[in-house]
């Protein structure tokens, strides 16, 4: 009797854990940034310290930022476990020895997703800024 009580508590705990995983998955699907189909025009401003910012306008059908930037051959980088990691923009490669890295913002605000998972909409303005220092 004691053993079966213990096992049923165990099974209940595992079931609750699995249920929470499923609920989190559903929450993510409901509230994740939604993509937009169709043609869009976005602008990307490339900011490098001590240089004039350069604005690039992209007309694209892409749903995510990475595809739009790839179409214009604006970025270089590599895939990682956390998504695509940008190492170069418009031919300017970040020098990791100098702690340089490329930062993505949208309308001046932080973006919580990588460029693989950042959806784009008509009129969006992005900035790619070369940062120095971790």
């Amino acid at each position: 009797m004691e053993k079966s009580k213990k096992y049923s508590k165990t099974i209940l705990a595992v079931v609750i854990f699995a249920a929470i995983v499923i609920v989190l998955g559903l929450v993510y699907n409901k509230f994740k940034p939604q993509t937009k189909e169709g043609s869009k025009e976005i602008s990307v401003t490339i900011v490098v310290p001590e240089e004039e910012p350069k604005e690039v306008t992209i007309k694209t059908d892409a749903e995510y930022l990475r595809q739009a930037l790839d179409e214009k051959k604006l970025i270089e980088g590599s895939d990682s476990t956390y998504g695509y990691y940008i190492t170069g923009v418009d031919g300017r490669t970040a020098d990791s020895a100098k702690e340089e890295w490329w930062c993505i913002t949208k309308g001046g605000e932080d973006v919580n997703t990588g460029i693989d998972a950042t959806p784009i909409a008509d009129g969006d303005k992005f900035e790619l800024t070369l940062m120095i220092g971790y």
Binding site: F17, L24, V27, T81, T113
Partner: protein, 166 residues
């Protein structure tokens, strides 16, 4: 504090940090052993584990750079420590696997607190939601690691610590 304690804290902090850095090269994001060690150290060393946690956090800051993520680290592992201390009489591997897994699932929510405070509800909510896939991986990997490794690691650390105390 005795010299033995200082040595113990130093060694355990260094071990946690080295393992975290080594596991960062694995192709599975958020899979980590730190939760396991925090639980085991909380159970075996008691409040000395807090010294280990905060030296680990300091090393992380020095290695990866101090940024808003480091503010999260100042409290997130301590939450797990206190949960472990609360249930310190439990010995079931499955129980600790569920605790560790639940901690992994809630990691993003716990880390989003500074974003709620600095950017308001939209910022905090956006940060949390965008990290849910990583939280799910974190929770499941913590559950599996806890199920498999928590009992043997606890037994080993407890045995060695008791031997050293004599």
């Amino acid at each position: 504090m005795k010299i033995k304690d200082i040595v113990l804290i130093g060694m355990m902090s260094a071990m946690m940090f080295a393992i975290q850095v080594a596991m960062a090269i694995l192709p599975l994001p958020n899979a980590e052993l730190i939760s396991l060690f925090v639980i085991v150290f909380a159970l075996v060393f008691g409040y000395k584990a807090l010294f280990i946690i905060y030296i680990f956090v300091l090393l992380e800051g020095i290695f990866y750079g101090f940024h808003i993520w480091w503010i999260n680290y100042l409290y997130v592992w301590t939450v797990l420590f206190f949960v472990a201390r609360l249930f310190r009489r439990k010995r079931s591997s499955l129980f600790w696997a569920v605790i560790s897994g639940a901690f992994g699932l809630s990691f993003g929510a716990l880390c989003s607190i500074p974003y709620f405070l600095t950017g308001g509800i939209p910022s905090g909510a956006a940060y949390w939601v965008s990290g849910i896939p990583f939280d799910i991986i974190h929770g499941i990997s913590n559950f599996i690691v806890g199920l498999v490794a928590i009992r043997p690691i606890y037994n080993l650390v407890d045995m060695l610590y008791n031997k050293a105390k004599c």
